[in-house]
Symmetry: C2
Subunit: 316 residues, 2 copies
């Protein structure tokens, strides 16, 4: 049976999936990344996942697709990853040499847009992804393929939506990420608490760690006015940015994903859409769909699998 392996390498765990040519998940393996133990250990963990998947009988491996949370160069080098000890590491060549198959490697958010387009069989040629979690990431799918420009396209979180506005972690101000990310939502809540306002999430908000999307959702549903305000503020600027993305790319669909979108669901996307509609030129918006990524956590190897499947021809 001809198969591909998809690998999602995260800061804490590595998810591997073995897929047949009809997108069916044949087997999956999950291991800890052990990022704090250094490159050699991480590589060992990666290979353990692959080796275990290859124990399935009668498979003929066609290629391996890898998603990494970091900057990946077109030559397959992982230039930098904030949570994994790769620094200019030739991960693609290492895996190609070891397994003697084609290996494709990409930034994990770029894998998300491929997964989003393929999961729901959206039947589109041009799609934009906006992924709202701790930060705001993006993905571009043009002419039925991933588009990365000169390597780092789709950094939508750092599009300027409000010149001289809120401060962003990047050092500038007015970026989308400074309004709509979970980090920005938490910063806004903190600021408002300092000004004397209250929320049932006060302790979690003031905590040093990043707040959970599910906690925000719970407070929102409980009628917490401040949390509702922060979430609506996030949606508002995602709407403004979506309008800019429609003017720039005029895609068939904008796909929304990430922790905040997954937690707040369809009504959140509807708020984004209403704001965007208000800002888009007549004639452009009628044909654009606003959809949820529909990705579950169990499928994080699906994007890397699609990455390699769509760019590597299976042998006959």
């Amino acid at each position: 049976m001809r198969c591909y392996i998809g690998l999602d390498i995260g800061g804490s765990k590595i998810m591997g999936g073995l897929y047949d040519l009809s997108d069916h998940l044949v087997a999956s393996v999950k291991k800890r990344t052990k990022a704090n133990e250094g490159v050699e250990t991480v590589l060992e963990q990666i290979c353990k996942v692959i080796d275990q998947l290859m124990e399935i009988e009668n498979i003929s491996l066609q290629g391996i697709g890898v998603g990494v949370p970091g900057i990946v160069k077109s030559n397959g080098m992982v230039a930098f990853s904030p949570n994994i000890p790769f620094s200019n590491y030739p991960l693609r060549d290492y895996l190609m040499e070891r397994y003697q198959v084609d290996v494709k490697i990409e930034n994990d958010v770029n894998c998300l847009i491929i997964a989003s387009v393929k999961t729901a069989n959206r039947g589109v040629k041009n799609a934009i992804g906006l992924f709202v979690g701790t930060g705001v990431g993006g993905g571009i799918y043009i002419n039925s393929a991933l588009y990365t420009g000169n390597g780092s396209a789709a950094e939508f979180g750092h599009m300027v939506v409000n010149y001289d506005g809120a401060s962003c972690g990047c050092g500038n101000s007015g970026c989308l990420e400074a309004y709509s990310s979970k980090t920005a939502i938490q910063a806004y809540l903190r600021q408002q608490i300092k000004r004397g306002r209250d929320t049932i999430l006060k302790a979690s908000v003031l905590d040093d760690t990043i707040i959970k999307s599910s906690e925000l959702k719970h407070a929102y549903d409980e009628g917490d006015v401040l949390v509702q305000e922060a979430i609506q503020r996030s949606a508002k600027y995602l709407g403004v940015a979506s309008a800019s993305l429609i003017h720039a790319f005029h895609p068939e669909v904008i796909i929304y994903g990430g922790g905040i979108v997954d937690s707040f669901g369809v009504p959140f996307i509807e708020s984004i859409k209403q704001k965007a509609l208000h800002h888009v030129l007549p004639g452009l918006v009628e044909t654009v769909r606003f959809e949820s990524s529909g990705l579950g956590k169990e499928e994080s190897s699906f994007g890397p699998y699609q990455l390699v499947k769509t760019t590597t021809k299976a042998c006959i």
Copy 2:
């Protein structure tokens, strides 16, 4: 001799050029559009230009490329043009039937980005165009071809750079065009004159017609403080928008053109660049070039020519 014809249909004149396969301009013809005399007359003028170009001896016409200032559908219909009486007119089919050659038709700003990339032999795969005149238009060149998305991509003038900011002609606020276009420059000068400030261009600014770029340049060079301020404001927001475009597309080059850029030249592009550099994530900007379109007025048929040349194979 195998040739292509490029046609730039403007609100006041039609420019036609006959090119050989080596991009050499063999002949050119210019006629009035006579837009106010109706569709039939405009078609007659278009055909007169073509017919006259085809009088050259021993040519074998391979195709006709047409640029139109309006909305062009993928089926070759001119849906709407503000200055020419085309309304859902099948211009492509009309010319194909009449001349029995392949005809490609596109929005004129989309032709500009093709022309800009080809004129200077920039040797790039991915480029973004920003054209600053009465409005702000854009063009996208991806994987060595024009990208129009679902038909209307690259409306960069209506990307939101400053939420709740200056009013735009489109009915929204904070659009790039509301800061950087010639219309916006004139509106800003008017507003400041109302507030009691002065400029040597007072009469021209208050005139009902749109001010000339050359007049603005003259006043700028004369040291007119208000005009200098308005131009720097235009450059500032073009810089902010350029940063967003780099984050979105990560192109190899951003190409600047249009009346304002042509008049103010390299120092204007340098101001844009400096502002953009300030807003772009480190690691992204080093590889991006900021260049002038380098298009002269005599070459307006060059983009339409390249449009048809790059998509239609010449017969052997």
